[in-house]
Amino acid sequence: MKNSINSIVSVAIAAIALTACNGGNNNAEESNAASTAVTQTEQQANSAETVAATPINGVVDDYLQLKNALAADNGQEAASAGNELMDALKELGASSLTPEQKQVYDEVQEDAIEHAEHIGMNADNIEHQREHFDIISQDMYDLVKAFDGVQKLYVDYCPMYNDNKGATWLSATEEISNPYLGSAMPTCGEVKEEIN
């Protein structure tokens, strides 16, 4: 009898403890979700305010998508981002540019479009996509420097890629997410410069 009372009590305690824990967790999750929602709305509002949907921002968006796909070792997504980047680059060429912008665009476009196209054609060869990404990143750097109204970008540098010859890329976040080495060395690299 004593034993069974003991066990009933301990079950009850356990049940209360579990409920309490669950309740606590739920609350925490809810408040997390709420704050995420707030941050997202804020970010959307911010980007809507500062970054207009101009052709150059279309180019930057597609480039960043490509960068993220390579950092995630996803050749398929990199390929579709590469194709979109190619289209966005052509659209940029058809838009109205200042003489200075036109000069930079003309210098860059033949090369950049070709690299974007090759990234699009090599969904099953991510190392080859990265070789092209290395060169197109230089084109992108020169291009965004010629435009106003581009979002804040970080110029990142990874000293290890390409047999320690090193390579740069552009990122929207200060945190390093390496598109050349991917999940093998996701945080290799450092911020070299901030644009805008």
Binding site: E107, E110, E114, H115
Partner: protein, 154 residues
């Protein structure tokens, strides 16, 4: 005549018929002012290697092998040459923008280092297009030298 014999005969007739379809040859015979040798000073030994291992598909002058006279080998070949020239044409290197020339040098280096070029299907038949490690090193050394000097200029 059995039906399988009829099919064989039909195939043979098609094979003979397609022999008469011969696309234009990739042989311009001209030395263009836009040739890569006019853009950079290239040592003789590197030029020879480029011509032997690359020019069949990456220039306006192909040295056609025996099977080029036989269809459908010819089509297969012309497709390769067309794609190769779109990618890189040593004879028209001078028409590329400065930036594209730079990245072409880089891409040549990458494909030779990776072993993706010359194509295995090509070197299988063209034994003289196979690059030894020493030959690869010679080409890559020239490519590096040229890229470095161009980077300094800019």
């Amino acid at each position: 005549m059995s039906s399988s014999k009829k099919i064989l005969l039909a195939l043979l007739l098609v094979f003979i018929a397609v022999q008469f379809i011969q696309p234009a040859r990739n042989q311009s015979g001209q030395a263009l002012a836009t040739d890569i040798t006019k853009v950079y000073t290239i040592p003789e030994n590197v030029q020879v290697l480029f011509k032997m291992a690359c020019y069949d598909c990456h220039s306006n002058n192909t040295n056609y092998p025996w099977y080029a006279n036989l269809q459908p080998g010819r089509w297969w070949l012309e497709r390769h040459i067309k794609a190769g020239k779109e990618e890189l044409n040593f004879n028209e290197f001078g028409t590329y923008s400065a930036r594209r020339q730079m990245s072409k040098l880089r891409s040549i280096e990458n494909s030779i280092e990776d072993g993706t070029m010359p194509l295995t299907s090509y070197t299988l038949i063209h034994k003289d297009a196979r690059l030894t490690n020493e030959e690869k090193a010679t080409i890559i050394a020239w490519l590096n030298e040229t890229q470095d000097s161009l980077t300094l200029q800019n």
